[in-house]
Symmetry: C2
Subunit: 253 residues, 2 copies
């Protein structure tokens, strides 16, 4: 049995807890959070910890807290065995260099409070300070996911930026469209099949080849007509993305 | 049987042809294109037409050609019965006002050459110059799709703009991420589960509530670190979308 302590009570911590708990070869012996009230998701009260002096001995300590708090937290964690890994896309592995054995266990996914995810399909990006530690993290990752890969800190940062583009920014475009539909008495529902197909398309085509629309066609009449309809914020976004499409596809104005 | 003539040989025309041909109550009697070479997808040679003087009598003429060519084409089409409808998201219905009976049959979807789509799930946005004509278009639409809705020209323009945001612009963000991954020796594959989940999430949440990321958290450290990594084009897009997220979610800098 691999003994694991999870640190944190956010979405990543919760989903890790659920996925690890379902795995026979892993024993989540403790979940730590400064505020124990947030540990509702941990069923066994004996597994809840809110005092850093009461952290049990484990093989793996997973720090699944806010990116910007990782280093500060690490300075307060006193353990003398096991591997310490964080789950942050943006923090370097070296944020944990005060430990003897350390690494990164970064699940590349967006986690919601209420929506369950299939952990098996989530790529887990791994990095460690030694081959032995990397092998250990690979072993753990392969128990919960079918997709684990070695990714260095620089690549992980690149993935984190990419994730902002494909997840945060796309979702914001959906929000703007939702807004705009409401303004025009249209239900957002009507756009769902199109959104679904947008993603389904790039399962077989690379996104460059899947590009369509007035920007790609350099259809100035449609572009001007669209710009006239939009408020300042949406107009700015429309203009800059149109320019970027034309630049990338070699159709500069 | 409802007799239909389809005009055009692009993706929309092809998919309409396939979907209409599969429907027993519809008889696609002809497909017109100026250049008959592009009508390969029409099996029966007698149904191919490339001479505007040889258009047969039909109940419905669907003009599925490039948005900007609709009005010019309409001026050349001489028919004296049936309804004429175009499939354009950006053209007003009035582009067809020289006919007695006219309307719009706009399938809100992105069509690819090679990828089949399930027409049943595509919302078809309808508009017509009389209730009778609207009822007729509804009848036709309901034969091929489970989702048809009445949408006036102004709303259709709004939908077209929204489609650019959710389809063209999202796809471009995927392209930029793909690019950036390649630069960092990462396969785009690794982002697919995240993209899938981004869309799956908004099936149960509205996109405003589904928003996450450094912009929403106003995590300036991560935002600055990301900006330092990006080239000019991506930096501009990152900045403007971050600002827009913060504005919309009430976290102005």
């Amino acid at each position: 049995m691999i003994k694991v302590v999870i640190i944190g009570a956010g979405n990543v911590a919760k989903h890790l807890y659920q996925s690890f708990s379902a795995e026979k070869q892993i024993d989540v012996i403790q979940v730590y959070n400064r505020n124990a009230d947030h540990l509702d998701f941990v069923k066994d009260p004996e597994k809840k910890a809110s005092d850093l002096n009461n952290i049990n001995k484990a093989d793996l300590y997973i720090i699944a807290i806010k990116d910007e708090a990782v280093e500060e937290f690490a300075a307060k964690l006193n353990i003398d065995q096991g591997i310490v890994a964080h789950t942050s896309g943006s923090q370097p592995m070296e944020a944990l260099s005060r430990f003897e054995n350390f690494g990164v266990f970064y699940p590349l996914q967006t986690f919601s409070k209420s929506k369950p995810v299939n952990f098996k399909e989530i790529p887990i990006c791994l990095e460690a300070n030694s081959q032995e530690n990397l092998d250990f993290l690979k072993e753990v990752a392969s128990l919960v996911s079918d997709k684990n890969c070695e990714v260095n800190s620089e690549q992980r940062r690149a993935l984190h930026v990419s994730a902002v583009f494909v997840n945060n920014f796309s979702n914001h475009l959906f929000t703007l469209a939702d807004d705009y539909c409401r303004e025009n008495d249209l239900p957002f529902e009507i756009l769902r099949p199109l959104i679904k197909e947008t993603v389904s398309k790039i399962e077989t085509l690379d996104p460059f080849s899947a590009q369509t629309g007035p920007a790609l066609r350099n259809d100035q009449k449609t572009i001007s007509a669209h710009l006239e309809l939009l408020d300042e914020d949406k107009k700015k976004i429309y203009t800059i993305l149109t320019e970027s499409i034309q630049k990338l596809h070699g159709k500069e104005l």
